[in-house]
Each structure stands twice: as C-alpha cells, then as structure tokens.
Amino acid sequence: MKDTNLGAFEELVLLAVGSLDENAYGVAIKDALESQSGRAPSIGALHSALYRLEDKGYLKSTEGGATTERGGRRKKFYALSGTGKEALVRAHELRMAFSHKIPGLNFNMD
C-alpha cells in the first residue's frame, strides 16, 4: 500500500537508522537521535516505532550481537529497505515542495 504518511518521529527514526549504517540497534539509534535532536525517546517508544516501521516494510532487521553487558541478550539490528529509502526521499520532497511555496523562508544554510 502506498501509504507514505510518515509521522515526524518515524521519519526521524528512519533517518537515524540510515545514518548508522551497520550498527543500528536499539541503544545506538537512541544515542543517534539524542545527539542530533537533543531529545531521546524511551527504549519502549523507540522499539514500538521500529516494530511498526518494519511492519510497514520500511525497515529490515536481523538479530545477533549478544554481549555480556546485555547479560547475553541479543540485539536487533535494523537497516533501511528499498521502500524505506523511497519513503524518506518522498517525505523530503514533500517538505521541499511546501517550503518553496513559503515566501521568506530560506533553507539554505549560509
């Protein structure tokens, strides 16, 4: 289904996953979000979003990487799927299209 309505938080999560390349798992994604936006979601909220995004098909996941730090519990690594990338691009385009229509709003960082 071509539902490209990404919530703002969801979009951020996708972006964070994309930026992390290989190591995109729970805590790492949370750190990335925190360092970029200053706000960190709770683990629960984050996983909920990741779960939903995977359901929608924007993310793929693999499991593995248990460490003693985690008491031997494994991690779930996420990565952007093709569809996910498309969705991000479309979302970005949508923002751009609107912003160009607003006079006096300058997106270029000088």
């Binding site: 729970g26 805590v27 709770s42 683990i43 996983h47 909920s48 779960y51 003693t68 519990r73 494994r74």
Partner: protein
C-alpha cells in the same frame, strides 16, 4: 560489568509478564545496556529509578502480549486436527470402529440400567425429615444355637417404652400381619350396597403417623387416629370410594360387621414405591383391646414398635437401657406364668434399634412379614455392571493396540515434524473421548429403549432422570472418565513408537503386547462363563423349587378368598361346590402353605410340663376336617380328623414337631399350649415357608371357620369350571365378587426374587458374551489381516483348507479353554455362597460347567471362524499382490 549489581527484580518480572515473547529479550538487552551505562554516571538508586521508568514506558500496546495469543490459537487448531483425524480413522476402519463402539454402548447401557436399579434400592426410606432419629425396635435372641431377630412385641411395649425412656420422643406401634382386621377385609361404605375386597390393612397407633411423617391429604396427622374406631385411608382408596370429596367423618363397615362401625379420620398420601411399608388402610389402635386384658398381657407378641428418639440420643446406649424392659416386663411375665424360659431370656434377649433407612436392605436376619431387599444383591448387581463396562473397555484397548501398526506411520511422521510425546498422548486421548461420546449417546439410547423390559424384570418403575440438575455435568464427567480409562493405555502405547521404526515399517505386533491382549481376552471369557454358570444354577434351583415334592399337592388347587362373610352358610356352600363333578375336595382354613396366608405361632409343651420344659415354638393351624385330604398331605402315623365330637381337642403334628417334643410314640400323647390336646396323628413334613429355611414345627387343630376355601379339582377345562364355581358363589354372595387364586401360582410367587435373580443373570451373561465375542471377532479379523501374506504363501506351498483354518483358530480356542479352567473355581465359590442361603437346594454338578463351557466355546468358535474361513478360501494372489 558488575555481576552482582542488577536492576530491580520486580521491574524485570513485570517486563517478562507483559512483553511480547519475540521482542522481550531484545528490549531487555537494551534496557540492561542502558542501565550499566547509567551506573557509571549515577548511583545505583538513580539508575534503578531510570530503569523502572524505562520498563514502565515499555508497556505500550504494540509491545504487550496478546491475551488471545498464538498459543491458544495453536491449541485450538490442534484439537480440530485431532478430531478430524480421529473421525477419518473411524470411518476408514468401519468394522473395527463399530465393534469398539458397539461393545462400549452395550456396556454403558447395562451399566446405566443397573445404576438406576441400585440407586432406587438405596433410596428406600431416605426422605424423612428426621430420618436419622427414626428406628424400628427389634428383638434379638443372642442364643448361639438359635440366633434370630424379630419384629414383634407384646401390646404393652408402647406404653413401657414411652413411660420409662425420656429419650424416646414418640412411640408408635404397628400390626402389619394378618390378624383380626389387619391384612385384608371386605370394605363397604355406609349406604352403599357393594362390598369390595381390599388388602393393605394394618393397625397403627396415632403416634405412628407422626413418627413416619406421613403426609395427609385430608385430616390432621396429629389427630387422625386419636379417636377409637377411626381409620386412615390412602389417597388411592379415597379416590376410589369417595371421588372428589373429603371423606373425613364418614362411616364404613369391615366384613359386613355393622355392630362395629368405623369412621374415617383422615386421608393419607399414597406411600411412594421406595418406602418399606406399603399400606392403604391404618386402623387405629386407640382404645383397641382384642380380648380382655390383652393390652397388658406380655404373653403374645404381635406388635411392631417404631420410635423417634430425641436429638443427640446414642442408639447403642439406649439399647442397653432398654434391657430394663426385658427385666421388668418380659422376665417378670415369664416368671409369673411359670415359663421355663426365664434363664434363657435373661441371658440372651436384647434389643436392637434398627434405623429406618436400613429396613429395606439390611434386614436379612430379621424375621419379617414382608420380603425385603438385600444389600448383597445390590452390591452384586453393581459389580456385574462394572465388570461388563470393564469388558467393553478391554475390547477398546485390545483393538486399539492391535491395530497399532496402522497408525505407526502417522505417529512416526508427527514425531519427525516435531510433535512431543505429550501431544500424541493428547491426540489419542481425544480420539478415545470421541469414541466415548458416541458410545455414551448410543448407550443411553439403548438404555432408554430397554428400560420398560428391565422394569418388568426387576419389578420396579425406573425412569431415566433427564431433568435432574446433575445429569449434564455427570454425563460429561462420565464420558471423559470412560474415555480416559479406555484410552490411556493405547495412548501411551501408540505414542511410544520410535519414528524411525515407524517410518521404516518395522512396527508389527510385538509378542509382549499380544500377551497382555490374550490375558484380557481370557478375563472377558472367564467373566462370561461365570455369569452363564450363575444363570444356569439359578434356573436349576428355580426348577428344583417348583418341582420338588413339597409334602402336599399344589397342582389344580383353587383358593377362594373372602369366604368368611358366608358366615353360617359356609357348610352349605361347600356342599354345593362338592356337587360339581370336577371338584374333588374342598376345605376351609385361613392357613395355607403359601406366603400371604395366616400364621399362628404358639408354644407347646408335653402335657403338664409347661413349667418344667422349654417350650417348642410351633405353628397352630385351624383347619377343617377335609383339609389334609384336600391338600394331599400324607398321614404317617395315626389318623386324620373326623367328625367325632372328641376331635374338637384333637391335634395333628408334623414330624419335626414330634421330634422337637421328644415324642417317641406321639399318637395318643397329650400336649398343651394354653389348652390341652391329644395327638391323633403325625403328618409328613411339608414345606410352608420358603425353602431358604428348614421345615419348622407345625400342628393342626380342627375348626370350621375360614376365610379361604381350598378347592381341589381335576379338570382339563379350568375356564368353564371356574364359571360354574363363580355361578355357585354368586348365588350365595351376590354383592361380593368372587376372588380366587391358584395355589401353584401363589407358590411360584414366593420365589419371585429367585426368578428375578435368574433373569438378571441371564441377561447379563448374554451381554457379557456378546461383548466378549465382539472383541474376539475384532481381534481375529485383525490377526487374519496381519497374516494374510503368510497365509497366501502357505496356500501356494500347498497347505490345505484345514491346516490354514486350524492355524488361525487354535490360538483363540486355547484362550477360551483357559478361561473355562479359571471360571470353574470362581463360579463354584460364588454359586455355593448363593445356594447356601437355601436349606433345600440343588447341587452344583460338573455338567453345568461343561454346558457353559460348550456354549461359550462354540460361540467363540463360530465367531473366529467367520474370518478364518474367509481367509482360508481366498485366492492367494490377493494376499501376495502388493499395492
């Protein structure tokens, strides 16, 4: 990485409770990682708090376990699969399935019918509000030689009990036997012309109504019998004589005696079928005195006392206290009347308070008026029912395990795919419960179908209790229980197959399992043979009873009843009867050798020795002078009655009495009870009790009153003779319809319970044989199937029909022979026990067992040969061709 510092346990537990399985570990891992990171920056309590916050924030809808999870869905789905497979198996092997179900249904039907019977027997007298305080007073004679218990006491027992024992709230006496107006009478409502014969009269104290909590339709239970000459009648009779009215206060006459009018004090509800007493008329004992001084004389024992104790009374202690009555009244009377029984009485007489609920089933040793049930019979029937059910379960088990190789591949495959043994056990239990459901439904149908016949045989009015609240849960419980019992062994047996053996096809009947199967077959047939032998013996005993020389001739004797109302016309009527050519003889008497006629127990002594000797208890029958001739009794010494005047004090005694009185030459001797008699003859002992007891002492004296005329006839056309007799009767008593029975029929009725036992045994023997043979049939069919290749090869190699046949049947017949050998000692032991109840009995002979064995053997043979013959003649190619 501190191993002993951990986040708070309860938070973890909370998480594990709520979190979805697949994400639980991952989230928890993230949480732990964060926790340890926090520990580096903060102290433990802060880190803990942060952890808890995180946990709480993880309780989001998307992450929480579904309540209707895939777990449940999985189980539900599996059951659907099990049922589907079970049904397919059932339909695929129709013959085996129908044998399993058929056997089960029969077993269940039998079980249900017996259950109803047992439940009815056990329900007698259980509905009293104060049932645990109601007792019947029984006299006990603890003499080791002559042990016995009786229900009768002298008249004053009521007063003696009431006055001396405050623990007895109420005392009420009953006279249930044929005595004065108790028993049967002619009943006529004042102003009516028609006088009808009625039975079911008894005398009762007013308090008896309250003790037995008799519900009243009209009138008050507390006073219905409190006035003299009152009577309480049952609703049935009230509807008959006073339809739609309240008859209280109306007058009736008994036996056409208009000098003693009786008025109706009340109408009681009919007694339910499961009550130990069944009377239609209670005549009051208030103000009643049967002869002057009767109510205070401790000579004669005719009253049966019932009591209700005060709450908290211990009946055993009370029984001890009651010995006071023995000493103050009974012994006192014995001393005063100079009886030689004083010492005996002091030593051996005791009281027993029999709880009212025990009367129907636990009165074996009590000499009672009515034939009671027997708790032993109840247990016996229950045991039989359980056995038959067991046989059916065995069939199920045998056939399921025998056919196991059919399911082997399925079991192996399921295990390979990942089934645990538990799942397989569940599957097979589900299957057996399915069979159980079907069988129970059919079984109930069968039971309902045969209930009317069973009611006839058992002489009851049983109904299936559809509407009781406990029926549905009980049924469900029963179905599950039976399914589990029958299914548990096959379930474990089948689920134990190793996958690789199963799939390779090397599962075949192991020798271990076939031993167990053989044992079960032997068990089935042993039970059947024992039942058949039981049935045969009961029938033999019945034959014996019916055909034994009784000492009198019961054939072709008509008993005309109610003749006491003829009064003065008795002799004339008798003469008229004798005029009919086919009437050989006729005699008056109230006393006949069949149950339900009068009895009169007396104590006799040699003349003059009543204070010296112990008395001999003997019957004293008043008969007319043609009695002995009419009944075909044989005089051994001396002579019969004649019409000599001196014969008014003549007495004839039987052999037993002569022996007991130690009379060497009885004829001419004088004996006495309260009058003196001279012995004119000795009659050969004849049976007048049922054959469970020996022949007791009996004497006969001459008298001309009687309410029964015994008519000895010799006719081939009974119907037309009866017409003539009826005409003669109507000429004398136009307002009283003739009533007659046949002596041989009355005699046979005395042994109704024996006949009934025989019928029940037969039915269950047949059922057991059917079930066992069904099992045998299934097994033999299966064996043949298994060995079809072998048979074909043998045939090809030249085996003849006989050889094949022999090969297939011999094993089974061996099992039946073993059953026979086992059944012999068991059957012998059980049936001896039953026969021992009878003083006069047939013997258990070898050929009974031979007959039973032959029957079972031939039936088994036929059963097995069906399949064997088929196998022996089949074209060998069929067996060898592989699909």
């Amino acid at each position: 990485m501190n191993n002993d510092i951990k986040p708070p346990r309860w938070a973890d537990n909370l998480l594990s409770l709520f979190c979805k399985e697949e994400i639980y570990e991952i989230i928890q891992g993230d949480l732990y990682e964060t926790y340890f990171r926090n520990l580096k920056k903060h102290n433990k309590s802060k880190a803990d708090r942060l952890y808890v916050t995180e946990v709480l924030q993880s309780l989001r809808p998307r992450l929480v376990k579904k309540i209707e999870g895939t777990q449940k869905l999985n189980n539900y789905g599996m059951f659907k699969n099990y049922l589907k497979i079970a049904w397919r198996n059932l339909s695929k092997y129709k013959m085996y399935s129908s044998i399993k179900i058929g056997g089960f249904s029969i077993g269940i039907a039998a079980f249900l019918l017996i259950l109803l019977f047992v439940q009815d027997e056990l329900s007698y007298d259980k509905r009293y509000e104060h049932g645990e305080r109601i007792y019947r007073v029984i006299s006990v004679n603890n003499d080791p030689v002559d042990f016995g218990m009786g229900t009768s006491f002298p008249a004053q027992i009521g007063q003696a009990l009431g006055d001396n024992f405050p623990e007895l709230e109420k005392v009420g006496r009953l006279i249930p036997y044929d005595w004065f107006n108790a028993g049967s009478n002619q009943f006529r409502v004042e102003d009516n012309l028609q006088s009808n014969y009625e039975e079911g009269f008894a005398y009762a104290d007013q308090d008896l109504l309250e003790i037995l909590e008799i519900p009243m339709v009209y009138g008050d239970r507390k006073s219905a019998l409190s006035k003299p000459n009152s009577i309480v009648i049952s609703k049935k009779k009230s509807d008959k004589y006073f339809p739609n009215q309240d008859p209280v206060g109306q007058t009736i006459f008994l036996n056409e005696d208009e000098t003693e009018p009786i008025f109706i004090g009340g109408v009681m509800e009919d007694f339910p079928s499961n009550s130990h007493i069944q009377f239609d008329f209670f005549i009051t004992l208030t103000g009643e005195e049967f002869w002057p001084g009767e109510q205070t004389n401790w000579c004669c024992w005719n009253y049966s006392p019932y009591v209700r104790t005060a709450p908290g009374t211990n009946s055993k202690e009370l029984e001890e206290k009651l010995l006071l009555i023995r000493d103050n009244y009974i012994v006192k009377h014995a001393i005063e009347s100079g009886s030689a029984d004083v010492e005996e009485t002091k030593k051996h007489f005791a009281f027993y308070l029999q709880p009212v609920g025990d009367i129907h089933l636990r009165s074996e040793n009590i000499h009672d008026v009515v034939a009671r049930g027997n708790i032993k019979v109840v247990w016996l029937f229950m045991a039989i029912a359980v056995f038959i059910l067991l046989l059916a379960c065995i069939n199920f088990i045998n056939l399921s395990t025998a056919k196991s190789s059919n399911r082997a591949k399925e079991v192996g495959l399921r295990k390979v795919i990942g089934s645990f043994r538990n799942n397989l056990v569940q599957q097979f239990l589900t299957e057996s419960i399915l069979y159980s459901v079907i069988s129970v439904v059919i079984g109930i149908g069968l039971a309902a179908l045969f209930l009317p016949y069973f009611n006839v045989i058992s002489d009851k009015a049983l109904v299936l209790p559809w509407t009781e609240w406990f029926v549905i849960p009980l049924l469900i419980g029963f179905i599950v229980f039976i399914g589990l019992i029958a299914g548990i062994y096959p379930a474990f047996y089948l689920s134990a197959f190793k996958p690789i053996d199963a799939l390779r096809g090397s599962i075949s009947r192991g020798s271990k399992s076939s031993k167990l199967r053989s044992v079960m077959v032997v068990f089935q047939f042993t039970t059947s043979i024992v039942l058949i032998v039981g049935a045969l013996i009961v029938y033999r005993q019945m034959e014996y009873i019916l055909n034994k020389d009784l000492g009198y001739d019961k054939e072709q004797v008509i008993m005309l009843q109610g003749t006491n109302t003829l009064d003065g016309k008795l002799l004339t009527f008798k003469e008229e009867l004798l005029k009919l050519s086919e009437v050989k003889n006729a005699a008056f008497s109230n006393y006949l050798p069949v149950a339900g006629t009068k009895r009169d127990g007396n104590t006799f002594y040699k003349d003059g020795r009543d204070k010296i000797d112990r008395g001999v208890g003997a019957q004293r029958w008043t008969v007319d002078q043609d009695y002995v001739k009419t009944m075909g009794m044989r005089i051994l010494e001396g002579r019969d009655f004649s019409d000599r005047a001196s014969d008014s004090s003549a007495i004839i005694i039987n052999e037993t009495m002569a022996k007991k009185l130690n009379l060497e030459n009885p004829v001419g001797e004088k004996i006495m009870n309260w009058e003196t008699w001279h012995v004119i003859g000795v009659v050969e002992d004849f049976h007048f009790d049922n054959m469970k007891g020996g022949i007791r002492s009996l004497s006969m004296v001459r008298g001309s009153q009687g309410s029964i005329i015994a008519v000895k006839v010799d006719t081939k056309d009974m119907a037309s003779l009866l017409e003539s007799i009826t005409k003669t009767w109507d000429g004398f008593m136009p307002n009283q319809p003739i009533r007659y029975t046949f002596l041989d029929e009355s005699y046979a009725r005395m042994y109704e319970d024996v006949k009934r036992t025989g019928n029940v045994f037969t039915i269950f023997a047949v059922l057991a044989v059917i079930v066992a043979c069904l099992g045998l049939f299934g097994l033999s069919a299966f064996m043949t199937e298994q060995r079809s290749k072998e048979i074909s090869i043998r045939k090809v190699l030249g085996a003849s029909f006989q050889v094949i046949f022999q090969m297939l049947t011999l094993d089974f017949l061996k099992m039946v022979v073993i059953s026979l050998i086992l059944a012999i000692p068991i059957g012998w032991y059980l049936m001896s026990g039953w026969l021992n109840d009878f003083e006069y009995r047939t013997d258990i002979t070898w050929h009974l067992f031979a007959i039973a064995g032959m029957v079972v053997l031939s039936i088994a043979f036929i059963t097995v040969s069906f399949e064997s013959i088929k196998a022996s003649v089949v074209n060998p190619v069929k067996g060898l061709r592989s699909e």
